[in-house]
Structures are given as structure tokens and as C-alpha cells.
């Protein structure tokens, strides 16, 4: 009897292993879908000990934690995100920045400029004027959703010229790629400067802006395809070669 039991438990173990493997392929869930028992992470809620999804997205399970990565929706500011914003308003010692979200962000002078500024003598438009674009980091978000920006980080700067592309914020990770592989490849092949904001804005500048912009939109549209990096690479090399011929 004991042997049979052991065998059975082995089979069960094998089964759970295959299930775990299957779970690595993320499952699409919609609001109200039952996700099992565990700790409710973001994108989920708990009711009577069971976790349910509250957004359309991809379910993930890490140990006890169950969470859902949303596939759609507007940008909700998060601390530490690098965002692209437009200067909306200038007040005495700060800028109000539109960050493509329902909440406006505040960029204090002290967080944006290194040098000493005499506020009685200086016009803040000297640094940033209306409609200027900046890349800044979100330094804090309060519960009441007041958002603070900081430009102390080295990567933060004013974005001069170039063009802006709006994409779905949920697809930004795909545009960046694993460890920045996707965006680095586009930059390299087109010779453009690209800045990707977590808030769904992409800034492109350079001689081949058109091609780079097209690539970004292509990535957004085909974000679900396997081996997209290679596909985009082929498309870009082809386009760039054509461009060379036309120039000659």
C-alpha cells in the first residue's frame, strides 16, 4: 500500500512541475477572473480568501504573490519612473508639468537647477519656458496624488527639438526591451537619439527620425510577437540601406 501511495505522490509531483512550466506562459485575464489563493498583488483584489483580477492583463505568480501586469490603461504615476513632461505653467519657484496622466506634476526649482538662483532677479523661463519638454524622474507620489519631479539624476535633461510619439503606457517595457535591448538597437541602427518615458511618451531626434519613429510605432503595434527584436532589426537595416541609395 505504502509503495502505491509513494508512486502516486511522485506522479502528483511530476504533474505540478508541468503545471509550473505551463504557468510561465502568462495567461490573459480580465476583471473578475478567479486567480486562485495567495497574496493579492497589484492589479488584483481579494474576496473571501480568493484572489481575483481587476484589470485586463497578464497574470503572474511568484511564490504566494499573485499579480496582474495590465495590458491597457492610462499612466498612473509611480515613484522612480522616468517620464517625459511638458511645462504647463510657471509659478514663483516651480514648474507645473503635464506628464500625460490625470495628475499634474510639480518640478521645484531646487530639484531642477544646480546653481544658486536669485528669485528676485531671475526669470524662470531662462531654464524652462512654456511648452518645453523635459525628461525627469518622479521623486514622490503622495496618497492624494500630488506628484513631485526631480532632475537631479544624470539622465534627466531638457529635450530640445526632435519629435514626440505617443504610445500606450502599458507597452513601454516592450519598447525598451529586456535590459534596454530594443531601444538600443533602434538607436544604433538609425543613429538617432531616443528617450523613452514610462508615461507613454517617446522622444526621437536625429537625421533618421522618420524611420526611428516608424519602428517605435511598429513595436507598439506588434508588441506581442515573438522575436520582435530581430524583425525590427531586419526592417531597419532594409530601410537604412534604401535611404543610403537615395542619398547617393
Amino acid at each position: 500500500m505504502g509503495d502505491v501511495m509513494e508512486e502516486e505522490s511522485e506522479i502528483i509531483e511530476e504533474k505540478t512541475e508541468t503545471i509550473e512550466k505551463e504557468e510561465k506562459i502568462r495567461k490573459v485575464v480580465i476583471p473578475g477572473d478567479m486567480l486562485g489563493t495567495g497574496r493579492a498583488g497589484h492589479g488584483t483584489y481579494e474576496e473571501n480568501g480568493t484572489v481575483y483580477s481587476k484589470v485586463v492583463g497578464l497574470m503572474e505568480k511568484r511564490d504566494e504573490l499573485i499579480f496582474v501586469i495590465p495590458l491597457c490603461g492610462i499612466y498612473n504615476p509611480k515613484r522612480g519612473d522616468g517620464v517625459i513632461g511638458r511645462i504647463d505653467e510657471i509659478s514663483f519657484s516651480k514648474w507645473i508639468v503635464d506628464i500625460n496622466s490625470p495628475y499634474q506634476a510639480v518640478l521645484p526649482l531646487s530639484e531642477a537647477v544646480d546653481e544658486f538662483v536669485d528669485l528676485t532677479k531671475t526669470d524662470l523661463t531662462r531654464f524652462f519656458s512654456y511648452n518645453d519638454m523635459v525628461f525627469a524622474e518622479i521623486s514622490s507620489v503622495t496618497k492624494t496624488k500630488s506628484v513631485q519631479l526631480s532632475m537631479k539624476d544624470r539622465k534627466c535633461r531638457k529635450l530640445r527639438g526632435g519629435r514626440l510619439i505617443k504610445v500606450t503606457p502599458a507597452k513601454v517595457p516592450r519598447i525598451i526591451g529586456r535590459g534596454g535591448s530594443m531601444v538600443e538597437m533602434v538607436k544604433e541602427l538609425t543613429g538617432t537619439q531616443i528617450v523613452v518615458g514610462q508615461n507613454g511618451l517617446v522622444w526621437v531626434k536625429g537625421d533618421n527620425e522618420d524611420i526611428a519613429a516608424e519602428a517605435v510605432l511598429e513595436i507598439e503595434q506588434k508588441s506581442h510577437i515573438h522575436g520582435l527584436t530581430d524583425q525590427i532589426k531586419n526592417m531597419l537595416t532594409e530601410k537604412m540601406q534604401k535611404g543610403d541609395i537615395n542619398e547617393n
Binding site: I30, P31, N76, H224
Partner: protein, 231 residues
């Protein structure tokens, strides 16, 4: 057998599509027989006018509208007493499933246009609105499914359509929050006994369950491609 050849507990043919409007954050079309509704969701976004803003939750604003060409005789465009009432009941049917506290100080706008009316327009409108909200990425406890039931020629039937509505004895639209088995909208036009009432509601709930399955299928289909993704 009914006028259009359906069984007593049969829904009209249903067609649904998610993501039909490009400029909206989320959108959906829902067709039940000859009733067609399109819903577009904008937001969560900043509230205008500012004084309507609420500090601890998002506000939900719904607008139900019938196109001038939606009925056999031209319906006058613009808000009417009827459309204002329906906008309100739709709003109240949706609020219980939404996590409005997730986006304080914002507004979620739901615009619903009925392109073609053939009874149960508020049900089609609600079904489209629920799908559009999910498509917009709004946090929800569940979808809302809606359908009507009623009485014609002394018989209790599901999903009232056309002549059954205009000549029938009773029309009862129901909106349903499937996972909690809660009714979020219940209206009645007609007279019924207590026993009949119980039967009609039970039938409508059954119809809602069927519609809920269709809604889930359609919504998953749009995002299914994301299944195999890496990153």
C-alpha cells in the same frame, strides 16, 4: 414560438467587438438582434469643471444618447428626459463594480451611442459600456451583463424585441453583477403578479449569465495575442 421565431428563453443573435474607436481610451460595440450600441470611455482624466472633483475617488459620468436615425421615425437629437434617466440608471448599474478609489480626483467619462434601436437599448448600452471600461484599463471587480425579460401574449419570454416591447404586457430590464449574483439595475414597465415577477427575474438572470460569457470571450480575444509574450 415567438414573432421572430425564437424560443421563449432564447437571446437574439449577439455580436460584440472591443476596441472599435481609436480616439477613446477604451471602446466597444454590442449588438443584440437589431439593437446596436457603441460605447467609448475617456479617462481617468482631469475633472472639468473643477468643483465636481472628489478628493477620494474618481467620478463616473455616463451619457446615453440615441442617434436621430436609430428609430423608424426620426428621434430628435439632444438630451431628453428619457435619455437623462437612462444615463443615470446606467451609471448606477456600473458604479458597484468599479474601483473608483484607485484614481482619486479624476473623472471617467462613458459615452454611449445607440445607432439602432429595437427594444432593450439600455441593456445593449450597458453591455457595451462594461466592455469599454475594461478595455480602457479601469479597475473593476467584474463586468456587468444586462438583458431584459418580459411578458407577451401571456407568456414569459427572454430578451424582449421589437413588437414584443411595443405590444407586450411587460418589459423588465435587468443588469447583473455575475460574480456576486447581484442585480444592479431593475426597471419594470407593465403589470405582473408576484409569482410571474419571480420567474421573469430568474429568466433575465439566466440571460445575463449567457451574455456575461460572450463578453468574457470577446474581451479575451482582443488581448489573446499577448499570451506568448516574452520580455
Amino acid at each position: 414560438m415567438r414573432i421572430d421565431g425564437r424560443k421563449k428563453d432564447e437571446l437574439r443573435p449577439i455580436e460584440a467587438k472591443v476596441g472599435v474607436l481609436k480616439n477613446a481610451n477604451g471602446s466597444a460595440m454590442f449588438r443584440m438582434g437589431n439593437t446596436i450600441a457603441v460605447a467609448g470611455v475617456f479617462g481617468p482624466r482631469e475633472v472639468h469643471p473643477k468643483h465636481k472633483e472628489e478628493a477620494e475617488r474618481a467620478i463616473l459620468r455616463t451619457e446615453y444618447r440615441m442617434s436621430a436615425f436609430s428609430t423608424t421615425s426620426r428621434s430628435r437629437p439632444g438630451p431628453s428626459r428619457r435619455s437623462k434617466e437612462i444615463s443615470m440608471v446606467i451609471r448606477e448599474a456600473l458604479v458597484p463594480v468599479l474601483f473608483l478609489e484607485e484614481f482619486p480626483k479624476t473623472a471617467i467619462d462613458v459615452h454611449i451611442e445607440v445607432l439602432q434601436a429595437d427594444a432593450s437599448t439600455r441593456c445593449a448600452a450597458l453591455n457595451a459600456a462594461a466592455l469599454a471600461l475594461a478595455d480602457a484599463g479601469v479597475q473593476m471587480r467584474d463586468l456587468v451583463a444586462s438583458c431584459s425579460a418580459g411578458k407577451t401574449n401571456g407568456e414569459i419570454v427572454l430578451d424582449i424585441a421589437g413588437k414584443e416591447d411595443t405590444d407586450g404586457e411587460l418589459d423588465l430590464p435587468v443588469a447583473y453583477y455575475p460574480h456576486k449574483k447581484m442585480i444592479t439595475l431593475l426597471q419594470m414597465d407593465g403589470i405582473a403578479t408576484k409569482e410571474e415577477m419571480k420567474k421573469i427575474i430568474a429568466l433575465a438572470k439566466k440571460g445575463c449569465e449567457e451574455i456575461y460569457e460572450i463578453q468574457k470571450k470577446v474581451l479575451k480575444e482582443k488581448y489573446k495575442e499577448g499570451d506568448k509574450d516574452e520580455q
